[in-house]
C-alpha cells in the first residue's frame, strides 16, 4: 500500500497505514533475525546536507539490518552540492543509482522539492525547523508500546516549540486521534509557530494551552516531550544563551508527575534533562532511540513494497 510513496510529513500516511507500519515494527522487535535478508540487493541513499549522527545512523543501521546497502554523504561540501548543484538535479542523479533516499536539509521544504523531482521514494529526515516525520514514527511507536494507544492522552511539549520540528510533526500526527490534549510549555520567544496553532490545533478544535510554568503543567501529563533549545537555529547567540536553560527536568520535578507518565526526547540532550532522571522507569528516551531504528526498518520495507 505504501510502495513507491514519499514520507514528507506525518499526515502523508493514514492512521491505518501507520498502524500497519507499527504492527510490522512490533514484529521486527519480536524477531529481528527473521528480517536480516528482507532488503537484500536494495540500496538506500542518505543525503544529509546538515550534521546528524542519530538519524543518519538510525537509517543506516535500519537498512544494514535488513540486508540492504547504503550510499550517501553526511557533509554537503564533499558532494556536488559544493559545486552549486540544485536539490532537484541531485535527487534525479541519485535516483539513477538508489532505490530510495533519505534527506536532511537545513531549508524547510527541501525534501518536498526532491520528491517532486523523482519517482523514487523520498523520506524527509528533518527540514530546517519544519518537520521530522520519522522521529514522529519513533515517538508514536514508543507511546503505542508503553501507553497502549493514543486516545485520551495529554501531551506536554516543552522547550523550543518554535524551531522544534519534532514537536510540529508530533502535534500534527497526534491531532488525528481522539481527545488528545496538548500543554505547550515554552518561553515567549520560542512559542509554537502560527501554522501549527491555527492550521492544526485551532482548525481541528483540539484542546491546548500555552503555559510558561513547567511545574504547574507536569501533574496533568501522560507524555512529557522534552526538546533541546537548538543553538543552530538562532541567528543571535545572545538569545540562545538567555533561553537555553529555561526548563530543566530533574528528579525533584519528576516527583510532580504522574506515576505512569513517560518522558520522551528526540535526542541529543544537552542539559534539559538531568542525567539523574535516566534511572527513572518513566524515562523512555533511549528506548525511543532504539524504537527509531526498528520503525525505520518497517518504513523502508513498506516504501519498497517488501512484505513483512
Amino acid at each position: 500500500m505504501l510502495k513507491g510513496r514519499d514520507l514528507l510529513e506525518p499526515m502523508d500516511f493514514s492512521i491505518k497505514e501507520l498502524e500497519d507500519m507499527f504492527d510490522l515494527a512490533d514484529r521486527i522487535i519480536e524477531d529481528p533475525a527473521k528480517y536480516v535478508h528482507a532488503c537484500d540487493g536494495k540500496l538506500l541513499a542518505t543525503l544529509f546536507y546538515e550534521p546528524s549522527t542519530r538519524t543518519r545512523f538510525s537509517f543506516e543501521a535500519a537498512m544494514l539490518r535488513l540486508g540492504g546497502q547504503v550510499i550517501g554523504f553526511s557533509e554537503p561540501n564533499s558532494s556536488s552540492v559544493a559545486k552549486g548543484e540544485s536539490i532537484a538535479d541531485t535527487i534525479k542523479t541519485v535516483a539513477c543509482y538508489a532505490d530510495l533516499a533519505v534527506m536532511r536539509h537545513p531549508k524547510e521544504g527541501a525534501p518536498k522539492v526532491a520528491a517532486h523531482s523523482t519517482e523514487m521514494p523520498v523520506i524527509n529526515a528533518g527540514d530546517g525547523g519544519h518537520q521530522h516525520p520519522t522521529q514522529t514514527l519513533t515517538d508514536l511507536l514508543t507511546i503505542r508500546r508503553t501507553l497502549n494507544g493514543f486516545d485520551n492522552i495529554t501531551v506536554g511539549c516543552c522547550g523550543d516549540l518554535k524551531f522544534g520540528r519534532t514537536v510540529h510533526s508530533l502535534i500534527k500526527a497526534l491531532s488525528r486521534y481522539k481527545n488528545v490534549k496538548f500543554v505547550l510549555i515554552s518561553p515567549e520567544e520560542l512559542r509554537i509557530p502560527d501554522y501549527v496553532r491555527k492550521e492544526i490545533l485551532m482548525k481541528n478544535g483540539i484542546e491546548f494551552e500555552e503555559v510558561r510554568s513547567f511545574q504547574e503543567a507536569l501533574p496533568k501529563l501522560d507524555v512529557l516531550y522534552m526538546t533541546r533549545v537548538q543553538k543552530e537555529r538562532f541567528f543571535n547567540e545572545e538569545d540562545y544563551i538567555r533561553l537555553k536553560d529555561t526548563y530543566i527536568l530533574d528528579k525533584s520535578k519528576m516527583k510532580l508527575a504522574k506515576e505512569k507518565m513517560i518522558v520522551l526526547h528526540p535526542l541529543p540532550r544537552v542539559n534539559e534533562i538531568a542525567v539523574e532522571v535516566d534511572e527513572d522507569p518513566r524515562a523512555m528516551y533511549f528506548v525511543q532511540a532504539k524504537n527509531g531504528m526498528f520503525v525505520r526498518m518497517a518504513l523502508i520495507m513498506s516504501l519498497l513494497g517488501i512484505e513483512g
Binding site: 531549508k107 524547510e108 521544504g109 527541501a110 518536498k112 522539492v113 525547523g129 501554522y195
Partner: protein, 143 residues
C-alpha cells in the same frame, strides 16, 4: 480629471484606494508597450475613494492575482467601446509564482527553479500557506 474610454481592453474598477499600484506591480503588465491609465483616489459612492486601472488592448490578465490582492474589485472586459463581460473575482485556492515566501529558512530561497506555491487557508482574511515551509502570509496586510 478626464480619462478617455477605451475601445478594447480591460477596466479594473472599485479598487480600494491605495491598492491600484500594487495590482499593477503584481499583474506584470508591460508598462513600456501598453497604454495604461491608472487613476488614484477617484470618488466612489460606495467607498468614498477608489482606484481604477484601464489597460488598452489587453483582455487576458491574471485573475488569480486580482482575486488575491483585491477580490472586491470589478473587472470589465471592453470590446468596441462596450462592456461585453463583467467578471466576478474569486479569492484563488492556490497561486503559483505570484507571491514569494519571505521565510529565510524556506527552500525557495535557495532552489531557484522551485515554483512558489501558496494554498488558501482562510478566505476571509486572505491567508495563504507556503507549499514547502507552511509559513502563513496574509494578503490583506502589507505583503
Amino acid at each position: 480629471m478626464l480619462v478617455n474610454s477605451i475601445e478594447k481592453g480591460i477596466v479594473i474598477d472599485h479598487i480600494t484606494a491605495g491598492l491600484g499600484a500594487k495590482i499593477l506591480e503584481y499583474l506584470d503588465i508591460d508598462l513600456a508597450n501598453n497604454t495604461v491609465a491608472f487613476i488614484m483616489n477617484a470618488s466612489s459612492k460606495k467607498h468614498g475613494k477608489k482606484d481604477i486601472v484601464k489597460i488598452q488592448n489587453v483582455i487576458d490578465v491574471n485573475l488569480d492575482v486580482l482575486g488575491l490582492i483585491e477580490p472586491n474589485a470589478t473587472v470589465n472586459i471592453i470590446e468596441n467601446g462596450q462592456i461585453i463581460k463583467k467578471i466576478e473575482l474569486q479569492v484563488p485556492e492556490r497561486v503559483t509564482n505570484v507571491i514569494k515566501c519571505k521565510n529565510p529558512r524556506c527552500v525557495t530561497s535557495v532552489e531557484i527553479n522551485a515554483p512558489h506555491i501558496f494554498h488558501l487557508i482562510d478566505a476571509e482574511n486572505r491567508e495563504y500557506r507556503c507549499e514547502y515551509c507552511d509559513e502563513i502570509v496574509c494578503m490583506k496586510g502589507d505583503y
